[in-house]
């Protein structure tokens, strides 16, 4: 069928009260985020229950060094900011700025992951592993799940940048950028909780 027919049909579909497909996908993603909140909520609850079950091993105050954590917190917050700038650039139709900001966001995210890996390695070096105590099991699981989300976000962001270079800003790529920025801000919010509940409350 010819393309003029298709556009005509989709115009009519809109007339038909047909919902906007891209908007619908965004709604689904919001609901997905709610389910992720439940998963993190369960891990937070477990962490809080098991926080003092150190089994004679090291506790939060013995292990955490706030310096590195504050640095990674700022990095992640900055990446959320650059991600916001990416969306602004996209809304203005500026493809290159969009790609640039996404690249910076991804780089900051990678730094965050790098810091997290080195923190974990450092802890394991000191003999504080997943198997040491219930407290550490809960710690690695909660923080690690967040890290896993960030890592998946990174792969996804790179994939999206490739699609953007190939296709430019279209309704579909636009929605995809909106979705990943939602995801990214969401991870930022979760991190604030991790920072507060695990690190701040841990060392105080």
């Amino acid at each position: 069928m010819s393309s003029s027919q298709v556009t005509e049909a989709s115009a009519r579909a809109h007339h038909d009260h047909h919902p906007d497909m891209e908007e619908m996908r965004l709604l689904g993603f919001w609901i997905y985020l709610m389910t992720d909140v439940m998963i993190f909520g369960t891990f937070f609850a477990t962490y809080i229950v098991l926080k003092n079950s150190t089994n004679g091993g090291p506790g939060p105050a013995d292990l955490f060094e706030l310096g590195g954590v504050i640095a990674s917190t700022f990095i992640l917050l900055a990446s959320s900011y650059t991600c916001g700038l990416a969306v602004l650039a996209m809304n203005k139709g500026k493809l290159r700025a969009l790609l640039g900001w996404l690249a910076i966001t991804a780089l900051l995210g990678a730094c965050f992951i790098g810091l997290e890996i080195s923190e974990f390695a450092h802890l394991v070096d000191r003999g504080a592993t997943m198997g040491t105590s219930a407290f550490l099991s809960a710690f690695y699981t909660l923080v690690g799940t967040h890290g896993l989300h960030v890592s998946i976000g990174l792969v996804w962001m790179v994939a999206l940048m490739l699609q953007l270079t190939k296709r430019g800003i279209t309704p579909v790529t636009k929605r995809k950028v909106q979705v990943i920025s939602l995801f990214w801000h969401f991870l930022d919010v979760i991190w604030i909780f991790v920072f507060t509940v695990v690190y701040l409350m841990g060392v105080s």
Binding site: M1, A9, M24, L27, I31, I39, T42, T129, A134, K176
Partner: protein, 660 residues
Amino acid sequence: MLESIKNWASDFFVTGDPLIYGADAAIIITLVAIVFVLTYFKKWGWLWRNWLTTVDHKKVGIMYILSAFLMMFRGGVDALLMRTQLAMPELQFLQPDHYNEIFTTHGVIMILFMAMPFMFGLFNVAVPLQLGARDVAYPFMNALSFWLFFAGAMLFNLSFVIGGSPDAGWLAYPPYSELMYNPGVGQDFYIWGIQISGIGSLMTGINFIVTILKLRAPGMKLMKMPMFSWSVLASCIAIIFSFPILTATLALLFLDRYGGAHFFTLDGGGNPMMYINLIWMWGHPEVYIIVLPAFGIFSEVVSTFSRKKLFGYKSMVYAMMIISILSFLVWAHHFFTMGSGANVNAFFALSTMVIAIPTGVKVFNWLFTMFRGRISFESPMLWTTGFIPCFVIGGMTGVLLSVAPADFQYHNSYFLIAHFHQVIIGGVVFGYFAGLYYWWPKLFGFKLNERIGKWAFWFWNIGFYLCFMPQYVLGLDGMTRRLVTYSWDKGWWGLNLVSSIGAGLMGIAFLFQVWQIVHGIKHYRSNMDTTGDPWDGRTLEWSIPSPAPHYNFAVLPQVSDQDEWWEEKQRRQKEGYTAVAPELSPIHMPNNSGIPIMMAGCWFLAGFGFVFHWLWLIIPGLAGVALCMLAHSFNYDTDHYIPVEDIKHTEASLRGAANL
């Protein structure tokens, strides 16, 4: 060399039990037969194009229901094995270890791999049609949900011939499900089978919420939406809040077993009681997740077959929503005896009893709908009337169980087994049967034989009461659940024998249903549904031809009333009604895709790798999952338009040219 292979194989495959060799042989023969038939009739391409890669919600629904029937067979065989063992005192039919495996797999399969897919099948079959929609919100994800369920179910089922079945009960309480007490792979099959299919369930939950919120036909306000769709909404809301808890909990158990963590272990500071809290925070809502859609079905059926509007539509909606919220506040009634203290027990006892109120409202609504209606008793209505007394008794024993101090007597006894089977079989299974019989003509274009159906119905019902009523008494007599055998001097044998006979009758009932379906397919020409509206229905699915065309509605309906199709039929009978020829336009439809089945296959491999700690399989499995996701993300050619001529052609062949 040969010796070591032999050793490995005898570890890897389950050996030593003639029952299992029989199963091995049956599985291999069935697989060979399937491959042979498909090759001989050159059906592989057809299978791939029409089924394995389909994103049509009706076909996905059919595959769900078919799998659910297979699983009902498997879970039913388990049930019969247990009831055989318990029929007489001191029988040596099943060994204790084997009995543990059987009650565990029976419970898991029935709830997660029979009830859930049956329910999702009915969602898929009916919801878009009722809403006047052409599809679900995310057709690709819908197919993926199905294949994930299927991969998880197969992984779980494999355990009884490879590696060994789980045996820690259907909720796998630690410490018994921990590595220390359960070193085999069975528990890992449990974790990954449920985990993989659970992701699918979660996605279905999201999918149907968005479908219901966004894809209703123009004019269908929420308060005009058919009751089944309401129940699906309530159930899906419970899914998206409870299934993540399950996912997280099983992940923690997995970390304990695989990563040496100490969440629920007895040593290292772990806390087994935390697992029990978490698993029931999912487990109790799960019960309502599966029963609410059954309530929705009963509502549709009662109103259709009484030819009346549903009594108390609004109160029904509120009752459903209240139940779905309350279901999250009662989880601790599953462990009244485990030392929570009087105040906690009192709270959970009261919140449990409160659920009886909205449930009672619903039962009365159904009764009032029937009152003074012109009732006809075809299969769907038959199952609905069978359900009511069953559910009323089951509900009352449930209230008895919710009395915390009394629960110290009933706890973990056959009284409980009788109670939950009564609500689950009488409520859930009967409800889904009603739904299946109700929507069958819409799916396949022909009706099933009513006579065979009646036989099935009566065998199910008589068998049911014979099986479970004696168990209430046995429970009060002190017979505990998960008991492999008992001695003559207990005096339990008479009631147990009756109970086992009842179970056998239900087995026969199932065979009647299988026969009914085979018979229906054989004689479909004489039972064709040419009207598209065989029950004189009320909601939109009955306004289109049977079987529904793949785009569902040639023209999206305009809704102005609750029970829109019924009102439309009234309008058409009025004088001066002139039919307006609908104006067709091309229909936008999603393309088929092979990615869902491949991605689920990769999950299956990764899950198998996790079970056996085979990193060489885990890594490619997970990489395959990631690649499938990326492949989908990079694919922009995901849908097509059906041209008007094709629609005209399809409609003409389905309705007969005169009707268009």
